[in-house]
């Protein structure tokens, strides 16, 4: 190995790192460091204006003994199931529905997708009125069917499902485009071969199309879960967690503990729990063969 080759290699490495530096520095400071920092702070009793005091796993112990925490965790998981599965099924159905050529198909796709380009905060502001007690559109609809107005946002049993309907409305169109691209990338020859083998429409769908969509489905599910866990905007606007935390979700709880109660220690502990949750639900990505996440 000549020294000039080593020098060139060193120069290339230097250049490589210099080019990376700005982006990586930002990511280190705002993605990597905060992960460790929340882990560190979660070990302290730390309220704003007070001196932090090391308490080991005290924050976690307090949380685990707190019924509100468990309620929030249950809400978060319930909300994830209530939204991710229906919006994936709906997204898949919509994808098949709009997987056609035609003059107006672009417009119909847009009709399903447009909520994704609206801020959650705007959607929540509008849906809050749809769900408003008695005067709201939803209660009016119930009354027109001869039912009692439900005031869904103030009832502990309906508040999460009501938010879930709103979120599915927003998310289905977003997931639809992934399924659409998945469907369109399926080789037509395979489908034709299945047809020649005598497979009927449903059979083709069940035994050919669906398995071929499996990687897309896996990938979409990780996106859907991640998106769902980072929701807080609509809780802030619509309910602030009411009634009695029945609509409180984990990120909202982090926000509330940190910025209303000023309990940085406890909200850091909650952040750690959130990170664990995200990791678990992102595991499929490690095993997925999808090119978007396979980085070699």
């Amino acid at each position: 190995m000549t020294s000039s080759a080593a020098g060139r290699r060193r120069r290339e490495a230097l250049q490589g790192w210099m080019l990376l530096l700005p982006a990586v520095l930002i990511m280190l400071v705002f993605t990597v460091y905060p992960v460790f920092r929340s882990g560190y702070l979660s070990l302290f009793k730390y309220r704003m204006g007070k001196i932090p005091e090391y308490i080991g796993f005290g924050n976690f112990e307090q949380l685990f003994g707190n019924s509100t925490f468990w309620k929030v965790m249950r809400n978060t998981l319930e909300f994830a199931l209530m939204t991710v599965i229906p919006s994936m099924i709906l997204g898949l159905c919509l994808a098949f529905l709009v997987n056609r050529k035609g003059r107006h198909i672009g417009f119909i796709r847009s009709a399903f997708f447009y909520p994704s380009v609206m801020p959650m905060i705007a959607i929540a502001s509008v849906w809050m009125f749809i769900y408003m007690a008695r005067n709201g559109l939803f209660d009016q609809l119930l009354v027109s069917f001869g039912l009692q107005p439900a005031n869904v946002l103030s009832n502990k049993d309906t508040v999460l499902p009501a938010m879930a309907v709103m979120y599915v409305w927003r998310e289905a169109g977003y997931l639809m485009v992934f399924f659409l691209s998945g469907i369109q990338s399926i080789n037509q020859d395979v489908l034709e071969a299945a047809a020649i083998d005598g497979a009927t429409g449903w059979k083709t769908f069940r035994y050919v199309t669906l398995p071929l969509l499996a990687p897309t489905t896996l990938f979409v599910s990780t996106i859907a879960f991640t998106n769902c866990f980072k929701l807080a905007d609509q809780v802030i606007i619509m309910t602030e967690g009411a009634p009695n935390n029945a609509s409180s979700l984990l990120l909202y709880y982090i926000y509330q503990q940190g910025f209303t109660n000023m309990n940085y220690g406890r909200s850091s502990a909650l952040t750690v729990i959130m990170l664990l949750l995200l990791m678990v639900f992102s595991l499929p990505r490690f095993f997925s063969q999808d090119r978007k996440i396979h980085y070699n």
Binding site: A13, G16, W17, L20, P22, A23, I26, V29, F30, T31, V32, Y33, V35, R37, S38, L94, L97, V98, F107, R109, S110, A111, F112, Y114, P115, V117, M118, P119, M120, I121, A122, I123, S125, V126, I130, M132, N135, L137, W169, V177, F219, I223, T226, F229, K230, D233, I237, L251, I254, G258, F259, S267, S268, T271, M274, L278, M279, R285, K292, Y295
Partner: protein
């Protein structure tokens, strides 16, 4: 054959009906914003057309300032991301050195951990840096975008090496090579990344809420939320709808005009940052 035709008609019909259901909230939002205020909400407008709500809201809330703030945020964020991501993507695509896999781990971390989740530690950091209530404070955590780096790197890799070598032989330096060879080839990736970045930052709420204090820095979303949440007793849905319409209009129009580009962008990005 007839059955097939009927089936296809059925599918069309179903998609149109569903599409209308999906559009219903938007229809209500627009019609309520543009008709006279009443005490009774109704799906179909039942009062006269008016711009009064829009005018009232525009004057009651400094939306002009908020617009400016959001536009500055979105544009500056994108421009900086553009530079940092291009550099990083080039480096990861073509240069050989040790430690690259570590960078991939960091990129991967950012992809699975949405920024919103780290509000507490990031707020403390931004506060220690003295960036609370500044536009830069809102932008700074997003200036290194894993999604963008990843997307650009994929596209750069598809460019034949010979193109880059040829440029070098012609005496182009690194910047010129990137500018003349790789960027034009990765145009679709840049478009996707622009769409994602702009719509993400136009719509982002929680982080700017925490970082900003004053109208001089507040983006549209935070302004809307303050307006919708203010316990104003004369609060009316027509006013909130008007305010909502004001803030969603530009992005929504851009979307309906370039719907294909938007949807493809979201697919190729795979994640909303």
């Amino acid at each position: 054959m007839n059955a097939k035709k009927a089936g296809s008609l059925g599918v069309s019909l179903l998609s149109v009906v569903l599409g209308l259901i999906w559009l219903a909230p938007l229809f209500w939002l627009v019609s309520t914003a543009l008709t006279e205020t009443t005490f009774n909400m109704s799906f179909f407008p039942h009062s006269a057309f008016t711009f009064r709500n829009i005018r009232y809201v525009w004057n009651a809330v400094p939306f002009g300032q908020y617009y400016l703030n959001t536009i500055i945020l979105v544009v500056v964020t994108f421009c900086i991301q553009f530079v940092t991501s291009t550099m990083a993507a080039y480096s990861l695509a073509f240069l050989n050195y040790r430690g690259k896999s570590l960078v991939f781990v960091i990129i991967f971390m950012q992809i699975i951990i949405p920024n919103d989740v780290l509000i507490i530690p990031n707020y403390l950091t931004v506060s220690e840096l003295g960036l609370i209530d500044s536009k830069f404070g809102i932008m700074v955590p997003f200036l290194g975008s894993a999604m963008a780096i990843f997307l650009l790197r994929q596209h750069f890799k598809t460019v034949p090496r010979a193109f880059g070598e040829a440029a070098k032989i012609d005496g182009a330096n690194l910047w010129q090579t990137i500018w003349r060879v790789y960027m034009p080839c990765a145009k679709p990736a840049y478009m996707s990344f622009a769409v994602i970045s702009v719509s993400y930052h136009w719509n982002n709420y929680l982080w700017p809420l925490i970082v900003t204090r004053s109208p001089q820095n507040r983006p549209l979303t935070v302004g809307l939320a303050i307006f919708a949440k203010s316990k104003e007793a004369d609060m009316q849905w027509s006013n909130v709808c008007a305010a909502t319409l004001i803030i969603i209009l530009p992005l929504l129009m851009a979307f309906f005009i370039m719907q294909k580009q938007f949807m493809n962008s979201f697919i190729s990005a795979g994640v909303k940052e």
